[in-house]
């Protein structure tokens, strides 16, 4: 099998260097007593992964449980160390960053997690939560914490007067917006969203997807969007990389991967997604159009 890399073919001159460039990334874990005679074995969670994320785009890393997609995200965020391979962010080798440069990296790359409640300190007010990245960076808060937090909440569609409340006082979708506001506080270049909309009800999920797209349009940052839900990915990705068993089995522009998948596993994955019949959707649109016309005629 030829593994096509999640690296876009260079269309123009290389002046548009990617924001993130990952080469031959490997992560092995030691499994105790897994092998014969109880010897510790090596488990390769991420196996020779290469990918790029360009400025302002969304690369979706999709796969099922155990595919290695979340481990890849954690390696890129430097939450764990790689066994081998390189991660370049904004032209610098992430592994080699220390001191101020590492500090800057920690601010440039922000994460949004699946469970908003467990990633927000329940004892802190929203104001303290969303200004925490700045406090950690020992950076002054522009305009003061109160005004800064209120402006952030406004941007993610929350009531700015709620900055003094605690996470438990918000719904799941609202809590996820707080997590997004916190990521925005330090004007990141890359947001790694790890199953960020998976736990949300479908109506709330749609709103958060719309929010994520709007913020990217406004700010121009990039997303590394980790997800198992292909229908969600279709709505948000610029490019898609499919992972299976620690490897990227296929990658390319969204419409190419969804429209003419080349790899057998990608095809199996796409075929397994439950679908509302397109002819039912088409009939619904016709019926809705007719309903609107009827309502307008009655007015």
């Amino acid at each position: 099998m030829t593994v096509r890399e999640a690296v876009p073919r260079q269309a123009g001159p290389p002046e548009t260097a990617p924001l993130l460039r990952v080469r031959n990334l490997v992560k092995e874990f030691t499994v105790s007593g897994g092998g014969l005679l109880g010897r510790p074995g090596r488990f390769r969670a991420v196996d020779d992964v290469s990918l790029e994320v360009r400025k302002g785009e969304t690369l979706a890393l999709v796969g099922e449980s155990g595919s290695g997609k979340s481990t890849t995200a954690r390696l890129i965020a430097r939450l764990i160390d790689a066994t081998s391979g390189t991660i370049e962010f904004d032209g610098r080798e992430v592994h080699a960053l220390t001191g101020k440069a590492l500090h800057a990296f920690r601010s440039d790359v922000q994460m949004v997690f699946q469970d908003p409640y467990s990633s927000l300190n329940p004892k802190h007010t929203v104001e303290r939560i969303v200004t925490a990245p700045l406090a950690y960076q020992r950076r002054p808060i522009p305009g003061g914490a109160r005004a800064f937090a209120a402006a952030l909440l406004e941007r993610v569609g929350l009531n700015p007067d709620h900055a003094t409340r605690y996470p438990a006082q918000f719904s799941g979708g609202q809590a996820q917006r707080i997590g997004i506001a916190r990521a925005l506080a330090v004007a990141p270049k890359l947001i790694i969203a790890d199953e960020a909309v998976s736990a949300l009800d479908v109506s709330v999920q749609a709103q958060v997807i719309n929010l994520l797209r709007r913020l990217q349009d406004e700010e121009g940052f990039s997303y590394l969007f980790i997800a198992h839900d292909l229908a969600v990915v279709r709505q948000i990705a610029t490019r898609v990389a499919v992972m299976n068993g620690g490897r990227i089995v296929e990658a390319g522009d969204r419409d190419a991967v969804f429209g003419s998948p080349q790899d057998a596993y990608t095809r199996k994955l796409l075929a397994a997604v439950p679908r509302i019949r397109p002819e039912w959707d088409a009939a619904r649109k016709r019926n809705e159009q007719a309903r609107r016309e009827r309502e307008e005629a009655e007015l």
Partner: protein, 278 residues
């Protein structure tokens, strides 16, 4: 009354609260035909799971159930617990989201299927029960069932554990299977296999199915009649095709708009005008 297998009228579930009872299921009416497949869809807090527990008489302590649930002509709400036990797990079977928490890790899957079977069938020998367990596991396509019957739950993958749970319900030859988010915890390729299996079982045994889920695409593929719930209310019900092609209620229309499609044009997902963030 039609020849419905299950006939639900005015089903209400309330919990005592300071300001009068807090109703989480409010006066539901619906029927399930013999051999039919009913989907109950809703978001979190809609009361869909409480509805299934109310049918089974498995509500948590303190919950008060009123209304009528008739199964094959018998009023279940009037049955004493002892009599209800001859329906529950026997003629009406239930499959839950998390097979791991429904299986005891200390016993082999075979022992658990056999125990369940023998608790409902008197005068069955261990050998007979073991054969029933193996046959049931073969029917849900667990290969090498004669050997796997002696394995423990942790030796099975998530999808295989859900097959074991389905085998356990099948061993009783139920007339109604209630599946509450049976594939939510599973990977999408495994979900497709389990949904195929449920369809196959319906075709083979003629059992009725109530599928409870948050996933509209899943109900659209599996069920022929749909009940939409929100905040304990039945918002709308009807044949699947009617619900998906001509939804009457604004909430149903909003839900259908919000579902991301894998083969639809890309655009702003339509949501309720009321901004959830506020």
């Amino acid at each position: 009354m039609t020849d419905a297998l299950l006939h639900v009228r005015g089903l209400t579930v309330g919990f005592p609260a300071a300001h009068g009872p807090n109703e989480v299921v409010k006066s539901l009416d619906f029927d399930l035909e013999r051999g039919g497949a009913l989907g109950i869809v809703g978001e979190s807090g809609s009361g869909k799971s409480m509805t299934s527990l109310a049918i089974m008489g498995l509500l948590p302590k303190g919950a008060k159930r009123t209304g009528s649930v008739t199964f094959d002509g018998t009023e279940l709400t009037a049955l004493p617990e002892r009599a209800m036990r001859s329906y529950r797990g026997d003629r009406i079977a239930m499959i839950f989201q998390d097979p791991l928490s429904s299986l005891n890790p200390y016993y082999t899957v075979g022992t658990q299927i056999m125990e369940a079977y023998r608790s409902h069938r008197t005068g069955v020998t261990r050998r007979q029960a073991r054969n029933v367990a193996i046959a049931a596991m073969e029917r849900v396509h667990i290969s090498d069932a004669a050997k796997r019957v002696d394995h423990y739950p942790h030796q099975f993958s998530g999808g295989m554990r859900q097959r074991v749970m389905i085998a356990m319900t099948l061993s009783m030859e139920p007339e109604l299977i209630i599946a509450d988010e049976p594939t939510t915890a599973l990977d999408v390729t495994v979900q497709a296999q389990i949904l195929d299996l449920l369809a196959e079982i319906r075709a083979d045994t003629g059992a009725g199915l109530i599928l409870i889920t948050h996933d509209l695409a899943v109900v659209s593929e599996v069920t022929d009649h749909i009940v939409v719930m929100r905040d304990g209310d039945l918002v709308e019900q009807g044949p699947a095709e009617r619900i998906f092609t001509d939804p009457q209620e604004p909430y149903t229309r909003m839900l259908l708009d919000a579902v991301p499609r894998i083969d639809d044009e890309i655009g702003l997902l339509r949501t309720m005008h009321t901004e959830e963030g506020r």
